[in-house]
């Protein structure tokens, strides 16, 4: 068995980043993400990469954007309070189209909350935390192996679409240990941003207005281009013309919207014939899977849709599996952030039952099984 190792999610995530070509990490310690920074501090220099402990999370995300501009694949890792601090610069990365990867190992919030307890309360912040309409991609691993795989994918998507990509982990996934067989480096697909051939005719933000991705020149190679968080035209220089802003904002958002089918990623079980569909992600999906399997043993036609890409939300996926579904149950460790999106996608074809848990304890499979079997205490209707 090649490369089989017992490792925790945070470790697998770091190894995924290194496999994807990580060259620069900047971060600020915060539970439960710190192991990622620690491992980067140890491993990156061995590969000629650089690790930097910044003075705060704002500095951390600023530093990785700067490093990415020099052509290096860059990442930071944090949790709730730090993720909140990063929001302004996530918008900078979105608007200026500078690829970065942010690992957010979720913990209970708001505020300092319960630092060592798992939660999934950053679903909406990951999508809408920064001001203005902006493109962002959010992936959610459901086990240790996926921490590796989805971090590789996060880099590939960031490089391909020039957007910030957030890997939304949680305390359980981050700290859980599983035996993982790492793929051979040669078998890992690694995507690199497209760079312009030579300075001269380089127009930094020239791209198809219909969601095109411009080529990105590394700083320090003679392109001498300008990057600004002001709205800018194709040349990269600021413009306050309404039509320039409109074209830019639509283009950068279309990059993700138009490519949703390619970015979409999920796992299913028993959805071909199910009348009760459980939709969830991350640590909650581990318990949901056991619950669905047990329910099927008990003769209930239950199915599971586990989202690996949360944003863009894979609305169209529901069209394919809603056939027989009468009930949709959404267990998540927050008060219904994913459920709201699920309700939108289900579009009244079935009742959506919110199963929010916010006591810092992982769902037990029996809890979900009991809702599958007996119906939820609160349905979407009742909660209105």
């Amino acid at each position: 068995m090649p490369n089989a190792k017992l490792m925790q999610g945070n470790e697998a995530c770091t190894l995924g980043a290194l496999a994807a070509g990580l060259e620069f990490f900047a971060g600020y310690p915060i539970t439960p993400s710190t192991e990622i920074a620690e491992l980067c501090a140890e491993e990156l220099p061995k590969l000629g990469g650089k690790f930097l402990q910044m003075e705060d999370e704002i500095g951390s995300i600023a530093a990785i954007i700067g490093a990415s501009l020099t052509g290096k694949k860059s990442m930071t890792a944090t949790s709730g309070p730090g993720f909140s601090l990063m929001q302004e610069c996530i918008g900078y990365s979105s608007l200026c189209e500078i690829p970065i990867v942010i690992i957010n190992v979720q913990r209970m919030g708001p505020s300092t909350g319960m630092p060592t307890s798992p939660a999934q309360g950053d679903v909406m912040q990951a999508r809408w935390g920064t001001h203005g309409d902006h493109p962002v991609i959010v992936l959610a691993p459901g086990n240790v192996k996926e921490c590796f795989e989805l971090t590789v994918r996060a880099f590939n998507l960031a490089e391909k679409y020039r957007v910030p990509v957030i890997v939304l982990m949680d305390e359980v996934i981050g700290h859980m240990r599983e035996k993982v067989i790492l793929p051979e480096q040669s078998s890992i697909k690694v995507v690199n941003r497209k760079a312009p051939a030579a300075p001269g005719s380089y127009v930094p933000y020239a791209a198809d207005p219909n969601g095109g991705v411009p080529d990105m020149a590394p700083f320090g190679e003679g392109f001498r281009w300008h990057v600004t968080g002001l709205f800018h035209d194709e040349t990269g220089f600021p413009s306050n013309k309404g039509e320039v802003a409109d074209t830019l904002l639509r283009r950068i958002n279309l990059k993700v919207e138009k490519n949703e089918p390619e970015i979409r990623d999920y796992a299913v079980e028993g959805v071909d014939d199910c009348d009760t569909l459980v939709v969830t992600f991350g640590c909650s999906a581990m318990s949901a899977l056991s619950a669905v399997r047990q329910a099927r043993k008990n003769g209930i036609k239950a199915g599971l849709l586990r989202l690996k890409t949360i944003w863009p939300f894979p609305e169209a996926t529901f069209d394919g599996i809603m056939g027989h579904v009468k009930r949709v149950i959404v267990p998540e460790m927050n008060l219904g952030q994913l459920a709201g999106e699920v309700e939108r996608a289900v579009a009244r074809r079935a009742a959506v039952e919110r199963l929010g848990k916010v006591n810092g304890e992982l769902f037990r499979p029996e809890e979900i099984l009991s809702v599958i079997t007996n119906g939820a205490a609160r349905t979407a209707e009742a909660s209105k």
């Binding site: 925790q8 061995k46 000629g48 003075e55 900078y92």
Partner: protein, 286 residues
């Protein structure tokens, strides 16, 4: 064409600054210092935050990065660590650098990372129309200090020295020759260098405080400044109400990216030799 104009994006002119604003003078001093040193345009990166002063990079013919308010030094740190062979210059304002960006400023100084930071200190928030900054003198009027500023202000240069900057100088837009010389020396220092360029905002600081025209403000700088070399020979009463200009601190120390670069070259080895690590995850902390 003068040598220094070769470093400007002339197609981007005219600039956005008000008539009489000192930011252009500081930018001009920078291009002349760069021209003297013949810095490679393709290997020099200019980074700024947000403010009138931070608009300067748009007019300079390098790879230029106009970042977020207060964050220029943090972005610049990422650039410098990722590619230490690049020359990195930060242009910032007194608000950008010492209020919202104060933390990054002191930590960059502490690290002694090779970044030349030019702070255009006009003692006010220009871009947002004249609110007081951490550099607004006590008693001065600002839109948010309608009864006079009650806060104490920083001595930026002292702050930089205390935090660990290895080259610090101050000049004004009246003392352009000195300003250019200091920027040149700062660019030659391998470490964190700070030039406090005292500059005029006639539009807000000037008008609100009845300081007169831009020329009057330049005279105010002329009268208020004492060269540090001359100051040592003067009795304290002659220095009351004055501020020092000139080279205030020059004390080279090992530079951060070089020291870390040495660590990196020592520990480098291949990824496929990685054996995995076992790390504790039971710790309980905030």
């Amino acid at each position: 064409m003068s040598e220094s104009m070769k470093y400007m994006r002339q197609g981007r002119l005219p600039h956005i600054w008000c008539p009489g604003c000192g930011h252009g003078t500081v930018t001009g001093a920078l291009t002349r210092a760069i021209a003297r040193l013949k810095l490679d345009k393709n290997k020099t990166i200019i980074v700024s935050g947000i403010g009138c002063s931070s608009r300067a990079p748009g007019y300079l013919d390098f790879d230029t990065l106009h970042t977020a308010h207060g964050r220029a030094i943090a972005f610049a740190t990422g650039i410098k660590v990722a590619k230490p062979e690049l020359k990195v210059i930060v242009l910032t304002g007194d608000g950008d650098c010492t209020a919202i960006g104060g933390n990054h400023f002191i930590h960059a100084a502490r690290r002694n990372i090779d970044i030349t930071t030019i702070v255009m200190n006009n003692n006010i928030y220009g871009m947002t129309s004249g609110q007081y900054s951490p550099m607004t003198p006590k008693g001065f009027l600002a839109t948010t200090a309608p009864y006079g500023n009650v806060e104490r202000s920083f001595d930026l240069s002292k702050l930089a020295i205390a935090a660990g900057a290895t080259y610090v100088g101050r000049a004004t837009t009246y003392h352009v020759q000195l300003l250019t010389d200091l920027i040149e020396k700062a660019l030659l220092n391998k470490g964190f260098s700070v030039i406090e360029a005292v500059t005029q905002c006639p539009t807000y600081l000037g008008r609100k405080n009845k300081l007169g025209s831009a020329v009057d403000m330049l005279n105010w700088f002329k009268d208020g400044a004492v060269n540090v070399k001359a100051a040592s020979a003067l009795p304290p009463e002659r220095l009351a109400g004055k501020f020092l200009i000139g080279e205030l601190h020059a004390a080279p120390e090992p530079e951060f990216t070089e020291v870390y670069g040495n660590v990196v070259s020592q520990v480098q080895r291949k990824f496929d030799q990685f054996q995995g690590g076992v790390r504790g995850c039971e710790q309980n902390s905030d």
